[in-house]
């Protein structure tokens, strides 16, 4: 297991290298540059700026310089936000994104598992149909539709939550629900299907014969095994939560890295855009690793590769 984790972490290095290289060169092929603002800069000033950020060097030299900085953990200065380094900006923005993302996953898993378990427990009852209809609808409501809906109802009409911005725990509720709901719906469907399948297996009959209560069977036997499809779904889900957070941060004006990525990409802030991509990719690989470990721990049939 430890060897497996170490090997996966080692894979992170070549993966990140590919990502950095691809994004570095792709971005340089994009027309425009970080200093093409609204008004034209004096050529002399532009020259100086380019020199300051090393943009006057040949491309391969710039690339090597960037890699060298990266090895020392230096993401370079931001080219648009003058006087600030990329590490500073991301250091402020990352906790916001992590908090929103983590709460969304937690919300999706908690709500989805509970709904799926209840639906399976009361299979074919009104509760089951109600929960599963909501889930069926929920899997096709994208966050960019749900978010304005939630704002409209809970912030503008009822005034229960702040419309946008950041600060108190109350600011967290609407973004988390908007981001997590679609995953909660899918997890509910997966959990229900998984639990129902486990309930038909022989060892469950043994447990029943042993006199275990139906509730204990569900909790001790059906839920862990029935959650395996959920666990393998968690990896792609966290990936989409990462990308989905870009939209959510834009709608709710959250100061997270998703918003910085979009503005950095459109403003050609090369260093900030690259830094964001690196942070996102690392997160993605590490989260994938977590979900694989969890799968291997629960299901002895899964052999870590």
């Amino acid at each position: 297991m430890i060897v497996f984790i170490l090997r996966r972490l080692l894979w992170l290095v070549p993966t990140l290298w590919v990502i950095v290289t691809l994004s570095f060169f792709l971005m340089r092929f994009a027309p425009g540059g970080p200093f093409d603002g609204e008004r034209k800069l004096d050529p002399k000033i532009e020259e100086n700026l380019k020199h300051k950020f090393g943009l006057d060097l040949p491309l391969h030299r710039q690339y090597l310089r960037y890699l060298g900085g990266l090895l020392r953990g230096d993401l370079g200065p931001s080219m648009v936000h003058r006087g600030r380094t990329v590490s500073e900006i991301l250091g402020e923005a990352l906790p916001v994104s992590l908090l929103v993302g983590f709460c969304s996953i937690a919300f999706a898993v908690a709500a989805g598992t509970a709904a799926g378990l209840i639906a399976a427990w009361r299979q074919n009852s009104a509760v089951d149909y109600a929960l599963m209809s909501v889930a069926a609808l929920g899997v096709s409501v994208p966050s960019m539709v749900l978010a304005p809906l939630l704002i409209g109802v809970f912030a503008l009409k009822l005034g229960l939550f702040p419309v946008a911005s950041w600060g108190t725990p109350l600011h967290l509720v609407l973004p988390v629900v908007a981001l997590g709901s679609i995953f909660a719906a899918r997890i509910a469907r997966l959990t229900r299907a998984g639990v129902l399948e486990v309930l038909q297996q022989d060892f469950v009959r043994t447990a029943r014969a042993k006199g275990l209560s139906e509730f204990m069977i569900l909790l001790r036997h059906a839920l862990p095994l029935g959650s395996i499809p959920v666990l393998s779904y968690l990896a792609p889900a966290t990936a989409s939560i990462l990308t989905g957070s870009v939209v959510i941060e834009t709608i709710f004006y959250l100061p997270g890295i998703g918003r910085y990525f979009v503005s950095a990409a459109t403003e050609r802030d090369y260093t900030l855009a690259l830094g964001t991509v690196i942070v996102y990719s690392t997160l993605l690989v590490v989260l994938n690793l977590f979900s694989e470990i969890a799968q291997a721990l629960i299901d002895p049939r899964v052999k870590p590769r």
Binding site: I19, L22, A136, P142, T250, L284
Partner: protein
């Protein structure tokens, strides 16, 4: 052909899927005949009118520039559906050829090709699409290519596993004994048998890509004004939702309904073509 009448009978019995199929067909017709159906042009501005709530003249109201929302949605459905279908076709071409070569050749080549897919799976793809759109410019063709280029991974995995089991079957052996070349066997004997799973996956892929197009347009990296796409209309609606709620309600509702219909149509097709993989 593996697409047999039994599958269609199974599909017909699934009422929800049939209803969704009819809805999607109707929507496709609306998109196709948008110029005839739309009461106004999508970029016909009436600045003196401004944003009007729904009325008989404008069933879905008008936006801030006085453009008829129903007409914009009709034209927008063309863009959204076209992107969904075209990008799926792009991903189909890449995924099927990549997966079938890996599956058919097997061995070290297969290993290397699938390792690459594993690595690519770990990449935050949406960011590449965003960067690609920056590099190539915001045109429809680029949107097709960029979205298709990142959606082929799952398709290649499905095709590979299918080809691996098909190539051991007797009819392939017979073709080989008759002296058919590798390419001929792949194209004439194996690929036609892949039609079922490929259709199913493609159908499930269309809503996913439409969502990604909406996402890009939403961030200002998809189609360009005044061309409407549903993502763009939703974003316009979000910005003005406090004063003109109809600008968000109609596009968001239509978009959600379409995604719902497409994904349940895809589920229905999967259950009909492959009853074992019921999830």
């Amino acid at each position: 052909m593996i697409v047999d009448s039994r599958a269609f009978r199974r599909f017909r019995r699934n009422r929800l899927a049939v209803v969704c199929g009819v809805f999607v067909a109707g929507l496709a017709a609306c998109a196709l005949f948008a110029p005839m159906l739309a009461p106004y042009r999508f970029d016909e501005r009436q600045p003196e009118v401004g944003a009007l709530p729904p009325s008989w003249r404008h069933p879905f109201g008008t936006d801030l520039h006085g453009r008829d929302l129903l007409s914009r949605m009709l034209y927008g459905s063309r863009i959204s559906l076209a992107v969904g279908v075209a990008a799926t076709l792009v991903s189909l071409v890449i995924g099927v050829s990549y997966g079938s070569v890996a599956g058919y050749r097997g061995g070290a080549l297969d290993n290397a090709m699938m390792r690459l897919v594993d690595v690519l799976y770990g990449l935050p793809f949406m960011f590449f699409v965003i960067i690609l759109m920056m590099v190539a410019g915001r045109s429809l063709i680029n949107l097709f290519l960029a979205l298709g280029a990142v959606q082929w991974l799952t398709m290649s995995r499905i095709v590979r596993s299918q080809v691996m089991s098909l190539k051991e079957r007797e009819f392939v052996e017979a073709a080989r004994a008759a002296g058919a070349s590798g390419g001929r066997i792949l194209f004439r004997h194996i690929l036609p048998n892949l039609l079922g799973p490929v259709i199913v996956y493609a159908a499930l892929n269309v809503p996913a890509i439409m969502l990604e197009e909406a996402f890009l347009s939403f961030l200002g990296l998809g189609v360009q004004e005044p061309t409407p796409s549903w993502g763009l209309l939703v974003w316009d609606g979000v910005q003005t939702m406090e004063v003109c709620p109809w600008l968000i309600v109609f596009p968001a509702g239509a978009f959600t309904l379409t995604l719902f219909a497409l994904s349940f149509l895809g589920d229905g097709l999967r259950d009909a073509f492959d009853p074992r993989s019921r999830a």
